[in-house]
Symmetry: C2
Subunit: 208 residues, 2 copies
């Protein structure tokens, strides 16, 4: 838990640093300066140093940053050092796509099950994951720890299902339903609006 307030803007950039650093590590790069990294990421070196320094002095003057160490440190900041148990609500194409996402497990993100109103229609089981009926959700929540629920269901169903999840103790919500999910303050909701980003693209195509 940080005591200084970290701005949303910084938090948004951390996963991006993670991506570039992981890529560098896979290329065998062991050290990098803020200058070099800034060129690859198309941001200023100053911003990188400022951002990283909010969480501690991970670099070394005259040397730069150790890639492996930095990945580990940012991982801790993002909570990826702890394991997270995740269920996916809605086993349609999007739910299956997210459940089948490789690399989550490297980061301690474990998809445990999918739920659907019509589980028997689910064409192919994703990576051998069980697909349960929605009716079994409350019981599942009694017997299993769930840190994050992924919602890929119609917006008409989203609020009532979220309530069941919240009552069952779930506090993390990755919401793909087309509404801004409003839950009590101790629940953390990340709303993803894919079509919003497509409209930013149409805006730019029009105003180029």
């Amino acid at each position: 838990m940080e005591n200084r307030a970290i701005s949303q803007a910084v938090i948004k950039r951390l996963p991006r640093y993670m991506r570039y650093l992981t890529e560098l590590r896979s290329q065998g790069v062991e050290r990098i300066s803020s200058q070099e990294l800034s060129e690859k990421m198309k941001v200023t070196a100053s911003q990188i140093r400022q951002d990283l320094n909010l969480f501690g002095g991970f670099g070394q003057q005259g040397y730069g940053y150790n890639v492996g160490n930095l990945i580990r440190e940012i991982g801790v900041i993002l909570g990826l050092d702890q394991s997270h148990d995740i269920i996916v609500i809605g086993a349609g194409n999007l739910g299956r796509a997210l459940a089948g996402y490789a690399n989550f497990e490297n980061r301690g993100l474990f998809i445990r099950a999918l739920f659907d109103i019509a589980p028997e229609n689910t064409v192919s089981n994703v990576r051998g994951l069980p697909v349960y009926s929605m009716e079994h959700l409350p019981e599942y929540l009694k017997n299993n720890r769930v840190d994050i629920a992924v919602l890929t269901i119609p917006k008409t169903a989203a609020l009532s299902v979220a309530q069941i999840l919240y009552d069952g103790g779930v506090r993390g919500f990755w919401n793909f339903a087309h509404l801004d999910l409003a839950l009590p303050d101790d629940a953390y909701v990340e709303n993803v609006h894919l079509s919003d980003s497509l409209m930013q693209l149409t805006y730019r195509l029009k105003h180029k």
Copy 2:
């Protein structure tokens, strides 16, 4: 084409206004004040007025904003008054999810086809859309207008496929591959990194 520079922050908010206004219209609401809308959207009334005023005086003193009119105006700003022809590259779960997305067509966004390296494996055709082999992509681009390509392919394939698309005249890219796609300046790329948003959630769960 706007002459004043509109900030990225404003452009990001426009689709959100669109969502709330469309919802209001479907509830039969015909007029709304910035104050009322700000309460629903949890932003300040001042921000709404400031944002909308960048594009023109859509409101009326003492009355507020006409919902239908505002939807139409924001639609024009976002380019949703023009039709866009879209193809999806990669007919996996994610590609099929996006291709099957309802409501795109209401906004002039027409998915015309999917492409995949193994089209015969595509379990179910989405909404009767054709699934072509990747080999046919250059020929397709010769014969069909494509405004936007949606990339739901592995990052190893993304750049070479993007190059084929760019050479074929495509300038809009909605990229879900796990890299920041870099293309010439006259191409417009919207990179979507789903796992970044999940990591923002794990951050908040850890630092609550």
